[in-house]
Subunit: 396 residues, 2 copies
């Protein structure tokens, strides 16, 4: 029986492979600082469960395919708080940002088309783009440049006649890079000049540090017709398991196409939308507390990482990830060492090897991504364990 | 900017068009018996909300990509109740049966491939198959034959060298047709002889009436390697808005491919899975009560429809739909008449025009689908309104 050729191209997730060894290490009593996943330890706001507990209907019925109206309105009002004017029908609620990405790529890609993305990029883009019969045309960026990519020549080098969109994750995952208003304007101009969509994945919108302002691709009315925003409550409200996201655009064609897919899959989960609406209506001061917490985590892990001889690592301006180039040839081999051979007082550490974040074969083998989803003390200890592990690994 | 050609092929949902007129009629004070949608009025079992209310974790975290282990085990144990032996890893939890369908078509179809489906079929298959770059190769069935299709010659006529799977909805939506064990064996044999997958959409598994036994495609061990079951809690537990379904197969290749997609989208909603597990653990006598209720609804609506002169309609053996051929040229025109011109004591009725359930152009224009999701009195009244409407419509 046939398995589709495009899906066969996707290799097994490295996370899965290393998870097996991590579980074995845990069985042997090792404590592992898991800096590899984007699952924060921050509590989900209580109003999420409260709203769900107060849900009254006797039948858990389908919601509207485009989303519960109350949630759409709450999201519209949230955007208004940043000066962005999106109507209810510009906002389609999705099952996490993941479904929004899947809908967008299915809507804009014909078989053989590609999208331009700066590498390293969020590795699951590969899955969504491949499933939609497209490919990635990467803009290669470097650790030494802080993974900058808002450069016309660099971007246009990646564009060809089958390119349909530029995808930007801002703030960046895995790089933590935050685009300036000038960066965003330039990217949109390049998109306009090449008749491309701009797919702006802004699930880390509030995670911008050092007193910098939040800039969204939705803040540029002159490009509104080509901008598609992908959003999610997962990180903003530490509610990854609620699976509530949205797709936002003022372009009626893309919204109509996404609506066909949305109607095909009927609706998103009703209760989770009820909970999400309550969180979107919280006082915006909630974000200040959250941001301060992540900023101090970033400072903790960055400070500790900087102590490692030979590391290449810039202080990220946003999201909750930090990329680092390590003084080893192969970080997967080093991670295996950490999980199977190393410990310091019974403790070790886990990170994401970065090769999967690159489309260009061979890149990223000496880079890692760390998610600062644990408290500052744990982050410091995690970075210390990387340093101690490297010492042992390189002196074998 | 590009909108994908395959998505442009999908027309606007007719439901959307008629909904507008239905809302206008309601504004004018008309009561509408909505027999057009698969949203039952039956209460969701209380244990769903109870389990969610008792969920203790402070963080609503991602669940495992394949599903919460507790839910996978509850589903395995449910299948065991029917004598089917599925292990935890043969069961992947999905966001409704919808996501399971989407995963399966993405996994088995390359651009230009097709799947064989008996028409009329669940119209959203079109969306999933088209999004996966495939097409439908229909087996045309007829109202006069009760929509039978388990016939080797009939099925093989639809198979060509780009066919990858036979899709069976059993019990049938929209036909209500229930396959016998002999039917299922024949379909699997045809699939085996042509090296095809069998995709068995069994979301109405318990909705089998007249004292007949439930037969699942999962009950034939000799075909287990090519059978993929799509399932959902939506209908079984009247929990459409929970969006919990699953994909079940003993074929490791399809499960591995589906897992790539599952890991890409991270996880299903955590709370809904907690509630679903509780429902799967209810005493199986729950199904008896539900089945009796739907059987009496079927009898009520079928009896009333039979009174309509010129109707072609068989008593369906399962699911909660009934197809009927009406003595009109165009049921969409008739539906528009019912919503905009007709009423009986301020009441009218809405059904699904069947053209969208056919892949062959021009078929189904004189057929409708009725969902018996309301209580027996309302179903009788709904059918009566169709009869009264037809009298007025045909005597204009």
């Amino acid at each position: 029986m046939n398995i589709s050729k495009r899906m066969l191209q996707i290799g097994e997730s490295p996370i899965r492979k290393f998870n097996k060894y991590a579980l074995e290490a845990q069985k042997k009593g090792k404590k592992i600082y898991r800096l590899n996943i984007g699952q924060p330890d921050v509590e989900t706001p209580q109003c999420f469960m409260d709203a769900i507990k107060h849900f009254q209907s006797k039948v858990i019925a389908y919601s509207e395919s485009g989303g519960e109206v109350d949630l759409q309105e709450a999201i519209a009002s949230y955007f208004k708080g940043y000066g962005m004017d999106y109507a209810k029908d510009d906002i389609m609620v999705t099952t996490g940002g993941s479904e929004a990405l899947s809908m967008v790529f299915t809507s804009v890609l014909d078989p053989g088309d590609n999208v331009v993305v700066a590498e390293p990029f969020y590795t699951n883009y590969n899955t969504f783009i491949t499933a939609a019969c497209g490919t990635v045309s990467p803009i290669t960026t470097k650790a030494e440049d802080g993974y900058a990519y808002a450069d016309r020549e660099l971007i246009e080098k990646a564009i060809n006649d089958r390119t349909r969109a530029i995808v930007c994750t801002n703030p960046g995952n895995p790089t933590g890079r935050v685009l300036t208003p000038e960066d965003i304007r330039l990217i949109c101009e390049v998109a306009r000049d090449n008749d491309l969509w701009v797919i702006a994945d802004e699930v880390y919108r509030e995670f911008v540090f050092d007193g910098n302002d939040i800039t969204s691709f939705g803040m540029f009315p002159e490009f509104a017709d080509r901008v598609i925003i992908v959003d999610s409550i997962s990180k903003r409200f530490s509610a990854c398991g609620a699976r509530v996201g949205c797709l936002v655009s003022k372009n009626a064609d893309i919204m109509e196409c996404a609506m066909k897919i949305a109607q095909g899959r009927l609706s998103c989960a009703t209760l989770d939308q009820v909970g999400a609406a309550a969180m979107y209506r919280m006082d915006p001061s909630y974000y200040d507390g959250m941001k301060a917490e992540y900023e101090s985590r970033r400072d903790a892990v960055y400070h500790e990482l900087s102590q490692i001889p030979g590391i290449v690592c810039s202080r990220p301006g946003g999201s909750f990830y930090i990329m680092a180039k390590l003084p080893v040839d192969n970080v997967e081999d080093f991670l295996m060492f950490l999980l199977t051979e190393f410990d310091d007082n019974g403790e070790t550490v886990m990170f994401s090897p970065a090769e999967g974040f690159y489309a260009t074969p061979g890149l990223g083998r000496d880079e890692i991504r760390i998610a600062y989803v644990l408290n500052s003390d744990d982050m410091r200890r995690g970075a210390e364990l990387i340093r101690l592990g490297l010492e042992k690994y390189n002196s074998r």
